[in-house]
Symmetry: C2
Subunit: 342 residues, 2 copies
């Protein structure tokens, strides 16, 4: 079923009466090799159908020029933006990216870490799964000195840099905005409070209520996985409330629009009856009617900065550790779903 024998640099060397060393250098565009020799090498390589053997190279050189990325899911425009930012920076520095998904499972995440570890990634960037607990699954990397960086959904570790937005402030601003529109009974739909992003937004939500003299109510915080079904479920839950809330802050745009759709199907007017604000500035927030107010999340920039930090570390220019963490700016985008005051 399979291939004939592979062409190696020895085959090329033999054909040209050169050493394998010279061929290796020639193929890598090493400065010490003459232009002419390089051309001969490359011509023969093409003619013989030579292909570079990454495994032999990595085995010998003990480096892979590969950076691992583990994310919960590939499906949001936010994540696409992050990955695009990472890929841009990595490519410019001639690193490859290998990306894997935990599918929000801590277990799969641990397997992915191990695979990345065995694949000798030079460094790893992670946004942790919904239910990840502790950092022990990452210790093997740190013991070997492999730099580990968290972005968006982070874990605390003195040896790790984190790149986040100011989730506390974002939560505060979102809630404050609803209050400014006259909302007094505001629900927060959020995720696992063990995750920094949700915990910080919840704190921001609570602070904003407190600063406005509004009592916080634990029943007004809904915790779920923030997907489409969760949005639908929350809508059902809201419809049963008495009195109805007058404002809803959802930590994810996709979840928010699904929730809105069900409420509107049930005769609720948005923003008149219930004002909405989401999170992420997903493209969906712009096409839905009423357009969804949201918090802009600079994903591309986050990806760029994360990759940049990691590569700076690999080049010995800067260290990965918790003192180098970065908080990016996010901002509120007010659209029709929250505008009750004209």
């Amino acid at each position: 079923m399979h291939s004939q024998k592979d062409v190696t640099i020895y085959d090329i060397a033999e054909k040209l009466n050169l050493s394998p060393t010279t061929v290796s250098r020639g193929l890598k565009d090493h400065p010490a090799i003459s232009k002419k020799t390089k051309k001969r090498i490359n011509d023969i390589a093409a003619e013989l159908g030579y292909r570079f053997n990454t495994f032999a190279s990595n085995l010998r050189s003990k480096r892979t020029n590969t950076i691992g990325v583990i994310i919960p899911r590939m499906n949001s425009s936010f994540m696409s933006a992050v990955l695009a930012g990472m890929e841009k920076v990595a490519n410019e520095a001639s690193y490859n990216l290998i990306i894997s998904q935990s599918l929000e499972s801590a277990e799969k995440e641990a397997v992915n870490v191990k695979t990345m570890f065995n694949n000798r990634v030079d460094g790893l960037m992670v946004s942790v799964a919904y239910d990840t607990v502790g950092v022990s699954q990452f210790e093997m990397l740190l013991e070997k000195g492999i730099p580990l960086l968290f972005f968006d959904r982070t874990l605390d570790h003195p040896q790790c840099t984190s790149i986040v937005i100011d989730n506390y402030k974002s939560g505060y601003l979102a809630t404050q905005h609803l209050i400014a529109q006259g909302c007094k009974n505001i629900i927060h739909i959020t995720g696992n409070l063990a995750r920094n992003v949700y915990a910080d937004r919840q704190r921001g939500y609570e602070s904003a209520l407190k600063d406005a003299g509004i009592q916080t109510d634990p029943n007004n915080t809904f915790i779920n996985v923030l997907d489409e079904q969760a949005g639908i479920d929350c809508a059902q839950k809201i419809l049963k409330m008495n009195p109805l809330p007058d404002g809803v802050f959802v930590d994810n745009d996709t979840c928010a629009v699904n929730c809105m759709a069900i409420l509107m199907n049930n005769g609720i007017k948005i923003p008149e009856d219930i004002a909405f604000i989401g999170f992420n500035n997903d493209p969906i927030s712009r096409v839905i009617r009423p357009a969804l107010s949201t918090i802009n999340y600079p994903g591309f920039e986050m990806g760029e900065i994360a990759a940049h930090k990691l590569i700076a570390h690999l080049n010995g220019q800067q260290s990965i550790n918790s003192t180098n963490s970065i908080i990016l700016r996010s901002e509120l985008i007010a659209r029709d779903s929250s505008k009750r005051i004209k």
Copy 2:
């Protein structure tokens, strides 16, 4: 900056007075090794912080258990579903997947193919970029006997299997549905007609019109990249038409909803003035109002089947070639955006 020396199977062997072979087998859960020895090996491995060296293994064994996937973009729910289906099947057969994006660029796609090639993927599954021309960039794989399979956006090659939906029929059904709703002046917003998916849908569109005795008009086919901006641009173009069309068939839901949003902003009523039907059954089609009629695309199933076919080939059970191509069923989902007849 980096790590101490790596622990190898030799280190483990020495500690236990075993041969490296036995250790290698023990770590792999080889049946010929006693339970007891296996346990000793694994315990010491854990204690020493041993990590398996994929490169050495791949170099020696000349197989990687890795399947490459190249897709245009990671950002649609359709693609997520395809990848999830592939990953499920691949994992069950203990293959790893490496995924890369062409970002719709034929050039980047060719680079990705080369990288996959150098990484010795056992097989490759590709949905080609928007502007890919010819199959020459894939010839190196075929020459080495590396199986190549196309899905969704395919190329014709006798040695390659393709997994597609019936795009002709889908285009026909979508158009026929609009006609059945009373539309007589129907626009088709589609992509590069060099791509099978768009060419086939366009043929279906034309056949449906013809069968209904409606004259086809080249000006009624809009060709673009089908992203959000394209949807907006198409809306502007439609607004300038006189008379306005009464039906629009868009080959992508995301593009469709953006187009609808602009039209509605300009006072057009959907479906009363213009009926809409999209393609893919993206989640967005369900939350938008009016809900978007669309064509369901069985992405997960497509991913499963593609991976299954490729792995069957690698196991010598079945061959990858054009005679084994598969056409999956897709179906029309009628929602409010096209329902003019009650």
